[in-house]
């Protein structure tokens, strides 16, 4: 057993540290910030779903906000009208969204990349209007207000034993989101390392070659879309729980774009990428809104414009910078940096000159 732990590659230890970090996080930040981090994790889950589709299968979707909306509304309606426990509705929302995603995928995935992007974009555009129509069911433009969840006694006691303060609903939401996040990231990791993942990547890298190798193109593409929608559905459901409110305007077209930008900036076709992307996508607009007004060197006229355009401008700027300097996203950048550092520490030949460093130990 010990032997097995000893031979674990360093990334497993990194995973452990990250998991412990997220478990411990609510104890050092206040309740409101725990709510914000829950939202960031929600985005991370949705981006993980998108990553399976875009990063691993090579299909572009601009409509994942619509699947989040679907998941959120399924949960909200079940809770609000049928008085179901919110925790029960999360898997229901995920599975239904996944099923609908799968069915949507059947015709849509016969389209080639750009046309698929347009079809899913249309989905994102009509979603808010569609939600408004059956007003008795969805609450129309008014949306549905959900009361904050009450932490179960056991969880609250355990939390109080560690920190000395009772658990708030935001902290409970955070842990629920974290649990789902861990489960779904673990699932994705397993899925993508094995047969299904290999098939998806083969399709991404060359459809003809993949088909020639006996891979069912339509089957795997539709499957990827379904799984991806399942992730978005779970994320949407958790979004409702964390926000305490769902309305058509909670899921604008911009959300779908936000998810895609998060996926690209975090790093496509990687497991940690969506986590970084989610944190980035959630906190960047907030931070940029607070940062811009404090910068006295930006002329007032420009500052007020940027402030109003807010997330859009900063997203655009960061996206361009990412494309130029880190085409594989933050994860790709860190990976490359780590590889280079390790190469130098181990005394690999310098890439430019082909010379060995004189004294590897002191570098």
């Amino acid at each position: 057993m010990v032997q097995r732990f000893r031979t674990l590659p360093p990334r497993y230890w990194l995973v452990l540290v990250v998991v412990l970090f997220f478990i411990g996080l609510p104890t050092v930040i206040d309740s409101f910030q725990a709510g914000e981090w829950a939202q960031a994790l929600v985005l991370a889950i949705a981006i993980m779903g998108l990553n399976i589709l875009v990063g691993y299968s090579g299909q572009l979707s601009l409509g994942h906000g619509a699947f989040m909306a679907l998941g959120a509304y399924i949960s909200a309606i079940l809770v609000h009208r049928y008085k179901l426990d919110y925790l029960l509705t999360i898997p229901i929302a995920g599975l239904l969204a996944g099923l609908i995603g799968f069915l949507f995928g059947v015709p849509a995935l016969r389209l080639s990349a750009l046309y698929l992007a347009l079809a899913t974009f249309a989905l994102a555009v009509v979603a808010p209007s569609l939600i408004k129509r059956p007003a008795e069911l969805t609450g129309g433009v008014q949306g549905i207000v959900l009361l904050p969840p009450v932490p179960p006694q056991g969880a609250s006691d355990a939390y109080a034993a560690v920190t000395g303060a009772a658990m708030t609903s935001d902290q409970w939401t955070y842990y629920v989101t974290l649990a789902w996040g861990l489960l779904l990231f673990w699932l994705a990791w397993n899925l993508l390392r094995h047969r299904t993942g290999r098939a998806m990547r083969a399709i991404r890298d060359g459809e003809v070659a993949a088909a020639a190798s006996g891979i069912n193109l339509a089957g795997y593409k539709t499957l990827a879309f379904g799984i991806s929608a399942f992730y978005a559905g779970i994320a949407g459901s958790l979004f409702g729980l964390a926000a305490g409110f769902v309305s058509p305007d909670s899921f604008p077209v911009g959300l779908s774009i936000q998810l895609l930008v998060g996926a690209v900036v975090g790093g496509l076709a990687s497991i940690p990428g969506p986590l970084i992307g989610g944190i980035f996508a959630y906190f960047l607009p907030i931070e940029s809104n607070q940062w811009v007004p404090l910068q006295t060197w930006i002329p007032a006229q420009i500052a007020s414009t940027i402030e109003k355009a807010g997330p859009a401008v900063t997203y655009g700027a960061v996206l361009i910078l990412t494309m130029i300097f880190a085409p594989n996203g933050i994860v790709g950048l860190v990976g490359a940096g780590y590889g280079r550092l390790r190469g130098r520490l181990r005394g690999a030949p310098d890439r430019e000159s082909g010379q060995m460093p004189q004294d590897p130990q002191t570098v």
Partner: protein, 413 residues
């Protein structure tokens, strides 16, 4: 083994640090969050961007009034007012987290003059559950006054939309008894509230006067197709229950359609400067009627009025505010009521007491920014602060007041 030991030790040290830091967060219940010996913290969410960005200036004008009070009177009872404004872009999905942020992170004493019917409805339950006063919301949706008993921490300020629509109904029945009414309304609680008021005001006997009611979503780009439909249905009287940007567009489109209906325009979009913008963009603005209850900064009647002088002094504290914009004097007027409530609360600065004064103990007959005779009043059984309005008509360059104040107090149940 040593390597593993070191790693485990590092992780353990990390966990201990986390646990050690964790003990500090113990929120103790306080009755007067946001109040210190020399400050009062108020929070606000408003549309400073997005489809209703025209309203954004209201919060700036309110801040200007608080700055004026802080500078000239040292605040209220020795406490200076700090006013934190956040932009929710008229989108309830943003109002909810921003309000949570103001309440839980910034720890405001009360929310003041939050704008938008949908936006304020979406946080009403939350604020009442937290017992945070939601004072003088900048929406006239009737529910904010009528349903006060279920939401004791919430109160509106401006005249109810239904009351305003009833005044239009009276005007129609008196002056245009054979009108064929077409209504354009925003598809949300705000637009629907106006529409309900109009239908109630006309009564069942005259319900057929409304030949068509078309709605638009606040996220829409244009109202052209709705207006074309209304024209095609034969309407000769157009009601605009629309926010400022849509009002300007609709006035322009109506003229572009070669349509000249009698126009009734809701008060939430009627400042003289917006009419000016519509006129410049090509709107004919013939036979336009609205209502007012605040002194219009562009009306020469008030040139030497002391209230208007005060307003001009106040608004000088706001660099970006257009002194002629009626929304700014609205901001000053509602801030005047807020300061009045805080003064009344005196030393008993609890959330419950302040909410109670605002919802049941208001009695202002001297708000200097309102039309003479307009009273701001709430009692334990009546939670409609302002109910008087006066019909105004567009003269081509400004609004002209017609008749006298019409009081709708007690008509909405």
């Amino acid at each position: 083994m040593t390597k593993i030991g070191a790693r485990i030790a590092a992780v353990a040290a990390f966990m201990v640090t986390l646990a050690a830091c964790g003990g500090s967060a113990t929120p103790a219940p306080q009755t007067d969050v946001g109040i210190t010996s020399n400050s009062i913290l108020l929070g606000n969410t408003i549309a400073q961007s997005g489809p209703a960005a025209a309203y954004g200036t209201i919060a700036n004008a309110e801040l200007a009034y608080f700055t004026y009070i802080n500078n000239t009177q040292g605040g209220v009872n020795g406490r200076k007012i700090t006013f934190k404004i956040l932009d929710d872009a008229y989108n309830p999905a943003q109002t909810v987290p921003l309000t949570k942020q103001l309440v839980e992170q910034d720890k405001v004493f009360a929310m003041f003059s939050g704008l938008g019917t949908q936006a304020q409805t979406s946080v009403r339950d939350y604020l009442n559950a937290q017992k945070v006063p939601q004072l003088f919301v900048a929406t006239g949706a009737t529910t904010f006054m009528l349903d006060e008993s279920q939401h004791p921490y919430t109160i509106g300020w401006q005249p109810p939309y239904q009351g305003e629509a009833r005044i239009y109904a009276k005007d129609i029945l008196a002056n245009h008894a054979s009108a064929k009414i077409g209504v354009l309304y925003q598809n949300d609680d705000y637009g629907q509230d106006y529409l309900k008021g109009l239908k109630d005001g006309l009564g069942t006997a005259n319900a057929s006067m409304i030949v068509d009611a078309e709605s638009y979503d606040v996220t829409a780009a244009s109202t052209a197709s709705q207006l074309a439909t209304l024209k095609a249905k034969g309407a000769d009287t157009l009601f605009l229950f629309t926010t400022p940007a849509f009002t300007i567009k609709s006035l322009v489109i109506t003229t572009a359609l070669h349509w000249e209906p009698t126009i009734y325009l809701n008060s939430v979009s009627n400042p003289q400067v917006y009419m000016g913008i519509a006129s410049k963009a090509g709107a004919a603005l013939k036979n336009v009627t609205s209502v007012g209850y605040i002194k219009d900064p562009t009306d020469p009647t008030w040139a030497s009025d002391s209230g208007m002088q005060l307003y001009k002094t106040v608004i000088a504290n706001c660099a970006t505010c257009n002194v002629n914009d009626g929304f700014n004097i609205y901001g000053a007027a509602v801030a005047w009521s807020m300061v009045d409530v805080l003064k009344q609360a005196g030393t008993n600065m609890t959330r419950a007491n302040v909410a109670n004064i605002a919802t049941s103990g208001l009695n202002e007959s001297a708000n200097p920014f309102l039309l003479p005779g307009v009273v701001v009043k709430t009692t334990s059984s009546d939670h409609f602060p302002i109910t008087q309005e006066q019909v105004i008509t567009w003269s081509g360059t400004g609004w002209t007041r017609q008749g006298s104040l019409i009081d709708e107090r007690g008509t909405i149940k």
